[in-house]
Amino acid sequence: MNRREFFNLGLAPFLLSTSVTATNTISAPVASMANQPAEPLSRLAKNGFLPNVPLVTHRNQNVRFYDDLVREKTVLINFFLIQCSEGRCPLAMANLRQVQNMLGSRMGKDVFFLSITLQPLLNTPQALNKYAEIFKPKPGWDLLTGKPEDVETLRRTLGFADADPELDNDLQNHTSLARYGNDKLERWGMVSLRSSPNNIASTFKWLTV
C-alpha cells in the first residue's frame, strides 16, 4: 500500500469526525514547525525532542532553538533563575564560566552553552545582558529568553519539568542538571552543574570521540 492508497481507504474522514479527547494542554510549536526544513537531520529533532522555537539571546539576536543553536552542534542546555534563593544557579553559572575557559578554542566552535531563563517575562534580553556581565560569557555561550509559551515548551520537552505538579509550580524547585548532547551523533546525557568545572568539562571530551 502506498500513501495515496492509504488516504483513499477513507480512514481519514472517519478519524477526523471521531471525537478527540486529547488530555495534553501544552501549546504546540506549530508556527515554528512551519518554518522548519523538510527533513531536520537528527531523529530527535524530527520527533519533536528539540523544538525549533524562536528565542532571543542576551546579545539581542533573534534565533531558532534547533536550527541556529543545536543543529549539528555539541551543546549544554540549562535553565536558570536569576533570583535563585538557594544559590544553586549562581554556582552553576560560575562553574560554566570556568568550563568555557577549560574548553578553550572549542568554545563557540563545536561546543555551545545554552542557558535559558525560567522567567522569560521578567528577563528581557537587556536584563540578561546585564546579568551576563557577572559571568562574562564568551562567544558560544548564550543566555536566552523568549515568549513564555516557547520557553515552557522547551522546558517540558527537554525534560526539565517535575512530575509532581505542585513541585513543578514552585519556581525555586528547579534542577541544576544540565542536558548535554551532540545533535549530529544523537548522544544525550545529563550532568550536574553543581559538580566541579573539571567534571563538567570532561563530559565534552567523551561526547565527540
Partner: protein, 636 residues
C-alpha cells in the same frame, strides 16, 4: 471474536497500514491522527487502544506521567498478541577456539595484541587496548588510575593473589536487528538493537571457581546510535569479587574499534584471610554483566548491552563432599540442583520492560530522569512469550534488568516458588513463597516443579505490582496482574535426578569487628538525584577504605516518596537491620542490592577484601544512576 479482540485486530491492522504506507509524522499530523504536542497517536477509537482501556485494566500499565514529551503522555505501544512466540533460551557462551589465547583477536589496529597481565600499546603509549587509549585521551583520570596500576592485579606471579586465566573468551558488542514481537510493525525483520555477540540478552557464561577466566570485549558498535545510547562502553560483571580494573568502572570507557580485557580470578571472597581459593561460604552463583558507561548506563542497557553469568563451585576441593553446585548434568553430585544435559533445566530469565512509539519503533524516554518504564514486559527479549516445560523440576535464574520497574511475582495457579538463592547467592536453606518482590538488578533463583501437572497444563507468571512512573511502584497490587510468561507442560515422562536440598550454603560469619561507620543518604534534592547532598563528580572519592577491614554502612532514603535499589560494587553485604528491625527470609542472606522503600533506612555490614582500586556505589534504577546518584570509593 469478541468486540475487544476485534478492536485489537483492527488496531494491529491500522498500525501495519500506517507503517506500510510509510506515513511520516507530518502526514499523521495533517490527518489529525497525531497530537502535535505529544507526537503520539490521539486516543481515538480505532487508532489507539488507550481510547477504551480503563485505568485499572492490568493489560494496560500506564507509563511515566511527566508532562510534555518525556515521554509522550499516554504513549502506548502497538498491540501485540500474547503467547505467540516461544521464549528463547540464553545462548551458551563458548571459549575461543581450542580455549587458547593465541586464538584471541588482537583488534583492528593490529597492535595491542596478545592477552597478558599488563596493558600494552604502541610507542606513543596508545594501543588497541582501551586502558591506554582511555588514559591517553583523559589524562585527568590518571590520578585515579595510574597507568602502572592498570595491570591485572591477580595475574602477576609476584602478586599476593596469582590466578592466571584458564578459560579464554571474547565478546563482541555490536548492532543487530532484534524482533521484540512479530506483531510489531517492524515485523519479522526486527529493529536495530545493540548486544553482546549480537544477541539480546547476551550469552550465558558458565564459569567455575578455581578456573579464572579472561574476557576480551571488542567494541564493534557503530558511531550512529539508536536515537539513544553511546558507542563507548564499560562492561561491569554485577557482584563479581574482582579487581577494580576488571570491574567495568563507569569512568573507563572502551572505545568503538578498541577492546578491553577483563580478568576474573574466580576466587571466593576472603582469599587473603583463608588462603587457597578463599571462603567457599562466600560463593556467588547468578551474576549478570551489563554496560556501565558514565551517564549512559540506562540508555546502553536499554539498547541491549546485558547478559548473564553463572559461576559454579570448584569440584572436589572441599572436605565436605556434599558441598558444591557443579551444574552437574547427571544431577547426582553436589547439591543436585536442577541442571540436566546442556543446562536444559537451568534457565536464565531476563525481565525487561520496554516502550514502543506510535509506529512501533523502540522508544527510550531520554528526557525523563525519574526513570523509565515501558508498557511491554519482555522475557529473554520477547514480549509475553510461552515456554514449553517438561514434567520435572527447573531452576530459573530470574533477573530484573530494569531500568526502573519493580515486579511482584505470582503464579496463576497460586503454586509456590522455592527460592534457593537471592542475588545469586544460595541461601542456608530453600524458602518457599507464593509471591515475592524483585527490584531492578536483583536476582532470584527459584525451583518450579512441573511434575505434578497433567500434560497441557498452562501456568502463567504474573506481575502484580502496578507501576506508572519510573520513580517507584504505586503500591497497588493488581489481581491477577499483568501476564508475563506462560509455561506449557509437555507430554511424556522425563528423568529428574535433581532434588530440592533441605540445606544449602551456610552463611559466613560476620565477626570481623567494624572499624568504621558511614552514612549514605540517597535523595531527590531540588530536582536532582544526590548521595549525601552531592551529585556525582568524577574527581571526588567519597570513601577511602582499608583493605581487610569491615564497615557498617547506614543507607538512608532521604524521602520524597521515591524508592531506590542501592548497589555497592565488589563487595556484597548483609542487612543488619531495616528501619531498625532485623530482617528475615529472603533478605537475611548475602545481598548486593538493597531496596530502600520510601523513607526507609538500613544498616548493612560489608567487608572489603582481597583487591584494590576504585569502585562505585549507586542507585540501580539506572536512570537515577545516570543522573548523578552515584559515588566513587577506593579500596587501598
Amino acid at each position: 471474536m469478541s468486540s475487544y479482540e476485534k478492536l485489537v485486530q483492527n488496531t494491529i491492522d491500522l498500525h501495519r497500514q500506517i507503517t506500510q504506507a510509510k506515513l511520516t509524522r507530518r502526514d499523521l499530523l495533517k490527518m489529525g491522527m497525531l497530537s502535535a504536542a505529544t507526537g503520539m497517536l490521539l486516543p481515538m477509537s480505532g487508532l489507539s487502544l488507550r481510547a477504551l482501556a480503563k485505568d485499572d485494566d492490568p493489560t494496560n500499565p500506564a507509563i511515566c506521567p511527566v508532562p510534555g514529551l518525556a515521554p509522550p503522555l499516554g504513549m502506548i505501544s502497538p498491540p501485540t498478541r500474547p503467547w505467540i512466540e516461544e521464549m528463547p533460551r540464553l545462548v551458551e557462551k563458548q571459549t575461543v577456539r581450542g580455549n587458547h589465547p593465541d586464538n584471541i583477536d588482537t583488534g583492528y589496529y593490529g597492535y595491542g595484541g596478545a592477552p597478558g597481565p599488563m596493558p600494552v600499546g604502541d610507542a606513543q603509549g596508545r594501543g588497541g587496548d582501551s586502558k591506554i587509549h582511555c588514559l591517553y585521551d583523559h589524562p585527568e583520570m590518571a590520578s585515579h588510575f595510574p597507568v602502572q596500576n592498570m595491570g591485572h592485579q591477580a595475574w602477576s606471579a609476584n602478586g599476593l593473589i596469582y590466578c592466571p586465566p584458564e578459560k579464554w573468551y571474547e565478546l563482541r558488542e555490536k548492532q543487530f536487528d532484534h524482533v521484540w514481537h512479530k506483531d510489531l510493525p517492524a515485523g519479522s525483520g526486527g529493529q536495530p538493537a545493540w548486544g553482546f555477540d549480537g544477541v539480546f540478552p547476551g550469552p550465558m557464561f558458565r564459569v567455575r571457581y578455581g578456573e579464572p577466566h579472561f574476557v576480551r570485549i571488542h567494541n564493534d558498535l557503530p558511531t550512529r546510535n539508536l536515537g539513544f545510547g553511546i558507542n563507548q562502553t564499560s562492561t561491569h560483571l554485577h557482584n563479581m569479587h574482582m579487581p577494580a580494573e576488571s570491574d567495568g568502572n563507569p569512568l573507563l570507557p572502551n572505545y568503538s574499534g578498541s577492546y578491553w580485557d577483563h580478568h576474573y580470578p574466580n576466587v571466593y571472597a576472603g582469599v587473603k584471610q583463608f588462603g587457597g581459593l578463599g571462603n567457599p561460604n562466600e560463593g556467588l552463583g547468578t551474576l549478570f554483566y551489563h554496560d556501565h558507561k558514565l551517564d549512559f548506563t540506562a540508555q546502553n542497557v536499554y539498547a541491549g548491552l546485558v547478559g548473564m553469568t553463572s559461576i559454579y563451585d570448584a569440584p572436589g576441593i572441599y572436605a565436605n563432599p556434599t558441598m558444591g553446585d557443579y551444574g552437574d548434568p547427571e544431577e547426582a553430585t553436589g547439591w543436585r540442583l536442577p541442571c540436566g544435559p546442556n543446562f536444559e533445566f537451568d534457565v536464565g530469565l531476563v525481565f525487561h520492560d520496554r516502550q514502543f512509539d506510535t509506529l512501533g519503533a523502540d522508544f527510550f524516554p531520554l528526557a525523563c530522569f525519574d526513570g523509565a518504564v515501558g508498557d511491554k514486559i519482555t522475557v529473554n527479549g520477547k514480549i509475553q512469550p510461552f515456554f514449553p516445560v517438561k514434567r520435572r523440576k527447573y531452576r530459573f535464574r530470574m533477573l530484573n534488568i530494569g531500568p526502573s520497574r519493580t515486579y511482584q511475582w505470582a503464579l496463576s495457579n497460586n503454586s509456590n516458588f522455592v527460592v534457593i538463592a537471592t542475588d545469586g547467592n544460595l541461601l542456608p536453606a530453600p524458602i518457599t513463597v507464593k509471591t515475592f518482590q524483585q527490584v531492578p538488578a536483583e536476582r532470584f533463583d527459584v525451583i518450579l516443579d512441573f511434575s505434578k501437572y497433567v500434560p497441557g497444563t498452562q501456568i502463567i507468571l504474573y506481575n502484580r505490582a502496578e507501576q506508572t512512573s519510573g520513580a517507584k511502584p504505586t503500591g497497588k497490587l493488581l489481581t491477577p496482574g499483568v501476564p508475563v510468561l506462560k509455561f506449557i507442560v509437555d507430554t511424556g515422562a522425563v528423568v529428574d535426578n535433581s532434588i530440592i536440598p533441605s540445606t544449602l550454603r551456610p552463611l559466613p560469619d560476620i565477626s570481623t569487628p567494624v572499624t568504621n561507620n558511614r552514612t549514605w543518604e540517597f535523595k531527590r534534592r531540588s530536582g536532582e538525584w544526590v548521595v549525601n547532598r552531592e551529585p556525582f563528580d568524577r574527581n571526588v572519592i567519597s570513601a577511602t577504605i582499608q583493605e581487610g577491614t569491615a564497615e557498617k554502612w547506614t543507607i538512608v532514603n532521604g524521602g520524597g516518596g521515591w524508592t531506590h535499589p542501592i548497589h555497592v560494587h565488589h563487595e556484597e553485604h548483609r542487612v543488619l537491620s531495616y528501619n531498625g528491625k532485623p530482617v528475615g527470609g529472603l533478605y537475611a542472606g548475602r545481598k548486593d542490592v538493597i531496596s530502600l522503600e520510601k523513607n526507609a533506612y538500613a544498616e548493612i555490614y560489608l567487608r572489603f577484601r582481597d583487591f584494590k582500586g576504585l569502585y562505585v556505589m549507586h542507585c540501580h534504577n539506572t536512570v537515577h544512576e545516570d543522573h548523578a546518584m552515584m559515588v566513587l570509593w577506593k579500596l587501598v
